[in-house]
């Protein structure tokens, strides 16, 4: 993505310009995150309110799932500790991905329509990275607290041997699931280049996202196939958590341990290609 970066002799003035440092501008991304955090912290009360309201919303949902599981003894063969680990993992991994992508790409269609996106193209930056890092969202505090709390609650009651191998798998699974979230939001955001409006796609996303909280085995076979393939929500938590706690994964079988870690990077690559193609189309026929 980086253009020609060589030292250029200014033919007009004879002045020789220093070459721009090659590669990714990490200092810029770090600076953007700090600017964004400072901006958000100017409205501290609203940030705390967002944490509290979101926290209560999630806590309510999790409590109702807990009640159902206690009343009926399980859900699709999953006990409460297993479910707690699944829900915690789902919330935590989603939040990591969403911090970098959700609010950023939710506003993508307005950004394209109102020409703000064009302002990024006239700067020597990768527009995707600029959007992601300049929009880092601090609103996910309650997601992390609740997610971690549920995972700890579940893991404490499960016979898991937390050796280096499992720890590594856990972290890699979280990263893969976070990448999956980021990739999905990127794909939806890229639709803005093609459709003009993409915000409504987020509604569809969250309908399916709700389904991905639960063990995929409780759904009918056609829906399972969709969640494992076309709309790969199964990899957000069900597949990686099933692999970690040793539960069978329908349809995938022995491929599950590899796919649990590979799904995120694969979808991220596809999202990058899709984003690039849509951007190219925007530059060719948009305006």
């Amino acid at each position: 993505m980086v253009g020609r970066e060589d030292a250029t002799s200014d033919s007009m003035t004879g002045e020789v310009r220093a070459p721009a440092p090659p590669g990714i501008n990490l200092a810029l991304y770090w600076h953007l995150m700090r600017l964004r955090a400072r901006t958000r912290l100017q409205y501290r009360a609203s940030l705390v309110l967002a944490w509290i309201s979101q926290g209560f919303g999630y806590a309510g949902t999790f409590a109702s799932i807990w009640v159902i599981l206690n009343r009926f003894g399980g859900l699709g063969g999953w006990s409460w500790p297993e479910m707690a680990f699944l829900l915690g993992f789902h919330t935590f991994a989603y939040a990591i991905g969403a911090v970098f992508t959700f609010t950023q790409f939710r506003g993508m269609d307005a950004m394209v329509r109102e020409g703000e996106f064009d302002m990024l193209l006239v700067r020597p930056v990768n527009p995707w990275s600029f959007i992601v890092f300049s929009g880092v969202d601090l609103q996910y505090g309650s997601h992390f607290v609740l997610g971690a709390g549920l995972m700890i609650t579940g893991a404490a009651a499960l016979p898991l041997a937390w050796d280096a191998g499992l720890m590594l798998r856990f972290l890699a699974s979280l990263l893969s699931a976070a990448l999956l979230t980021g990739a999905m939001f990127t794909i939806i955001g890229a639709f803005a280049f093609v459709l003009g409006r993409s915000r409504y796609v987020f509604g569809l996303y969250f309908d399916l996202w709700e389904l991905s909280r639960y063990p995929i085995g409780i759904y009918t076979a056609p829906l399972q196939i969709i969640l494992f393939t076309v709309l790969p929500f199964a990899y957000m938590s069900f597949v990686p958590v099933s692999v970690m706690i040793g539960k069978p994964v329908p349809l995938l079988g022995g491929a599950a341990p590899v796919l649990a870690l590979a799904a995120g990077p694969i979808l991220a690559l596809m999202a990058a290609l899709f984003w690039r193609a849509c951007l190219r189309r925007h530059q060719d026929i948009g305006g």
Partner: protein
Amino acid sequence: MPAASPAIGQADLIRPVRARDSPVTPLSQNPHRGDGPKGILLMPPIIDARTVSKVFRQRQSTGGFSGALRGFFAPVTKEVRAVEEISFAIEAGEAVGYLGPNGAGKSTMIKMMTGILAPSSGSLSVLGRRPIEERIANAREIGVVFGQRSQLWWDLPLNDSFDLARHIYRLPEAQFKASRAEMVAMLSLESFIDRPVRQLSLGQRMRAEIAMALLHAPKILFLDEPTIGLDVVAKDVVRKFLARINRERATTIILTTHDLQDIEEICPRLIMVDDGRLLFDGPLPALRTTFGARRRLTLDFSADPGELILDGARPLPSEGLRRDFEIADDERSLIDLIRALPAGAPLSDARLHEPGIEEVIRTHYQGRSA
């Protein structure tokens, strides 16, 4: 107002002067020229557009609910040629006004030169690169100000936005500080540099936008409607600054505007477009001749002079003590004209009216849409 001359309003009679055929800035006056051993020009134009076109597909709506329904299931699109075979060459250090009515393709051309949009056909080179293919390298050497978009960080002090520019362009600390100090002094930003951008007036914000676009010392500054919405004083500050930056730093300026005064004060050269096509490219004073605009002579008499025939002047509808004429010959002076009056004509006052640029252009566009 009726057409001031038969040529006005007849696009087929207008012969645009193309930069390629007749360079506008004499090369001998170009401070950046680089002559070869035999006086051959070595330096290519800083911007070189050759038969550049941009075509969009636009959905057509037939109106009403049934039209909307039809459009949903079987959308009908039409081709919109926003820019049509435009050619020009801009030398380093020039200041060029890019003028045209709404929808003439001004912004589309700017977007192509800045790497936002790809041309549909033709070739476009900016600083020796194809902007769309080498967007990042191009962006490093240009500055862009869109009058209706901001690149400043809304909630934070202006200084933070400047600091962001340092990171975006990877400027060494010393270079950044020197550049910022220069901009702050030249644009009088000192009093509000620590204020959040959201609290700045429109004029202050535009000055800040321009400063931000110049911190990395770009070779070309593109401005799309930089004075839109500004009051008279703020416009004046922006115009004077842009003229100065062009003169002192030799920054090439390409500016689109609706306000002809921007062009009169900043840009010695004008490119005029309409319906995506190039209408005129040349020095501002040549516009009048190209569009066939004529000077007008008004004579006041103390007594009715009766029927009046003036050599080289066409009488315009007028009667009584005041008579108007259209002067075909640009070389004839007021004295020549008065001398041509019949002896003893009771003349009390005489005025020669030079048509303003705005009048010339307005008359042209009115003639076109009639």
